[in-house]
Symmetry: C2
């Protein structure tokens, strides 16, 4: 029986999840694959001992013990961050080992180098766990939807941000309070910026766009806006209009150019994405043949992510056994077919908007604002003005527009921002177009 | 460049979808796979000509022209039904050709023979399109969730039944009326029994159970109940209790035995399955590592199903190119590892129930019925009695129970059915347990 040996670098949450998964599923995997697949060595600079049921695994503080071991077929990198993760991955590839990683930051920033070097060495790169945690989203896009032109990607790709927005929505608690509580409970990092500022979501979108369109793109090319400025009043207003606010990654394929953006979005309540709550992720693809496909599940966590890493290990083990490494190009297209594509400028976007103005409660304010919008060719769909508390109090004025060009919106908002009656910066939230 | 030649038997809706997909995606598939993949011959007893853009394909009335052609690598069967589909598939396998089918009825009834013969000949069997139309559900279960013990399957697997229930729910129209309209619009067959009596759903559940558990099971072992008896009053009552009625396939893995059932189900409104409407399908797996994964998309139709068949063709083409046929066992487990498993008796089920009694509007009726339920150890959660119109009129009495054993329920309902005040057969609808 073929015996596939894995070296695991990084024994944090996901690393432990992988070790638990491969241990608990050992017999099942043999019944499915006809192979024995197990971890030979774990390298972690901090780990001093392994749990009793994993004691047959060799523990080392030095990743080079894995990289230099000729018996190890597959190296799994679960350290995260840029270095030393990148060095270890490149050394593993140079040593002719297949690699698996969940490191979306690394792939979104220097993926093209990693995939090129792996192709040159003829080794596999697995990265299912980098997007959507346990959801088999990479495999679905690369293989299940292979016979589709991908027209759009949209999704909730960060469980922490979605958890925070869900609690804000359900309980009316302000952002800072939910974040503090999530940090105390371990659902959010001490430095939450990757999650709440949309950076992690942009990493994931970059990976999916590479595969969907056959383009090299880094997260730096993705317009990224987080959820720190969302206030309970926005969530309340969203509810009145039948929306829920979600942090979405969105890309639409316009042929010559493709959209690439991450921002809080008003999602119509009848869309499935509006019903994805808590730590769940959901990723939706629109294919020209298949229509809309939505995949939903836990986007993070020890065992879900461990399960996705294990699926990559099994996939590569099968290719080793069949001598078929390279059977499916990791990024869906062959690297030689990758071609540049312009990213749609944000000023070119065309869609409906939610604006919340903080204005003086005096006559004529709505008329002035509406006048500026109208002069810019922006058509108003709905207005809510509430909470009149006297002449000088600041009151919210909420306006929903029909589809408008973002460049027109920006010009109008700049002019409106200069009006005497406007007391604070405007809050602008894009509304998900119905066609998506 | 490797040139993979496909023979297509059956040029109906899905066959046309496959031909359109492979034609429209030809360049994209080459950029992805490095191969040329195309249809060489189409066999259909009724087709007399192909559309202009498919004129390079050979058209024949005789499937044997495909089966006897040594140039053809992959035979796609899209006739449907038992014969001659089965004969063609077995002849193709005997001729050493790889096969792809969307024929869930055939696989659910004689799949074990087909998979065994294919394994003996060393040829591949693709059947992604047999469950969930365009949704890559087979690949997700077999490969994405490979490192999971599957604890439960639940899903909406028939778009026609879901369309009918959705319209009944949204518009309050009775079953027969929606069905007649769906038939007129071509959404439902002239003989709708496969769709509305749950048979098609049972076929699909049998296929998923085979893969999830490594067992041979046919749809005849699956308790199957359709939606013909659902009345607008049940949908209205469901709404009052926060449920939506869906035709679900359900299997839960109890280790020594596994549940296998298809029936209308009260789904709590906060579950994603409750929000899957119209012709959409959604299939949910619970894995011991990954938790709940839900996949949603169009469960039927020319292009979505064509896209799934094309994905199978590409998968097999890759295995041909890499000489890696058999890399993944089609039913997830190796056939040698298949083992029998007892199917849970319906009388062993334990869960909450919805009952609608049609009773005389007279004092003491509720007391008698509640007394019988109580004597059988069935605990009442809620009661609605409405529409009193005078002493002799029949009125609906609706009772929701806490979790109860189905054998107790059946005994209680038999006794209640004999009460003088009960005027019509009771309607019993199972409620989806919250843990799912």
């Amino acid at each position: 029986m073929q015996d596939i040996k894995v070296g695991l670098i990084g024994f944090g949450t996901v690393g432990q999840g992988l070790a638990e998964t491969l241990h608990s599923q050992e017999n099942r995997l043999t019944k499915r694959t006809g192979m024995k697949i197990g971890i030979k060595t774990i390298a972690d600079t901090r780990a001093r001992a392994l749990p009793a049921h994993l004691e047959h695994i060799h523990l080392t503080q030095d990743a080079r013990d894995i990289l230099a071991d000729p018996e190890i077929d597959i190296v799994v990198e679960l350290i995260g961050g840029m270095e030393p993760a990148k060095t270890f991955l490149l050394e593993a590839i140079a040593a002719g080992k297949h690699v698996v990683t969940a490191n979306k930051a690394l792939l979104a920033q220097t993926g093209s180098e990693i995939f090129r070097k792996a192709a040159e060495k003829g080794v596999a790169v697995g990265f299912e766990a980098s997007v959507g945690g346990g959801i088999p989203v990479i495999k679905a896009l690369r293989e299940g939807l292979v016979a589709n032109r991908i027209l759009a990607i949209s999704g909730i790709m960060n469980g922490t941000a979605n958890y925070i927005l869900s609690r804000m929505t359900d309980e009316g608690i302000p952002f800072a309070e939910v974040l503090a509580e999530a940090q105390k409970l371990g659902f959010a990092e001490a430095d939450p910026s990757y999650d709440v500022d949309g950076i992690d979501t942009a990493h994931k979108l970059a990976i999916l766009m590479s595969m969907a369109y056959g383009i090299h793109i880094t997260n730096r090319e993705i317009s990224t806006e987080g959820i720190r400025n969302i206030e309970p009043v926005d969530i309340e207003m969203a509810r009145e209009f039948g929306f829920r606010i979600k942090l979405l990654a969105i890309s639409r394929n316009h042929g010559e150019h493709v959209e690439a953006r991450v921002h809080p979005t008003m999602v119509p309540g009848d869309k499935l994405l509006a019903s994805i709550n808590g730590a769940y992720n959901a990723i939706q693809f629109k294919g020209d043949c298949v229509g809309d496909i939505l995949l939903c599940g836990l986007g993070a966590g020890k065992m879900p992510t461990g399960s996705a890493v294990a699926a990559d290990v099994v996939d590569i083990a099968r290719d080793i056994a069949c001598n078929s490494v390279g059977r499916v190009p990791p990024l869906s297209y062959q690297l030689s077919q990758f071609a540049p594509r312009r990213i749609t400028g944000m000023d070119e976007l065309f869609g409906p908007y939610y604006f919340r103005f903080t204005v003086k409660d005096e006559p004529g304010v709505l008329a002035s604002i509406a006048g500026v919008l109208s002069a810019q060719g922006i058509s108003i769909a709905s207005v809510i003005q509430k909470g009149r508390r006297g002449q000088e109090a600041a009151v919210p004025l909420v306006i929903l527009t029909h589809a408008a060009r973002e460049s027109d919106v920006e010009q109008a908002l700049t002019r409106i921002g200069k009006l005497d009656a406007v007391l604070a910066p405007v809050v602008k939230i894009r509304i998900l177009e119905q066609e998506q």
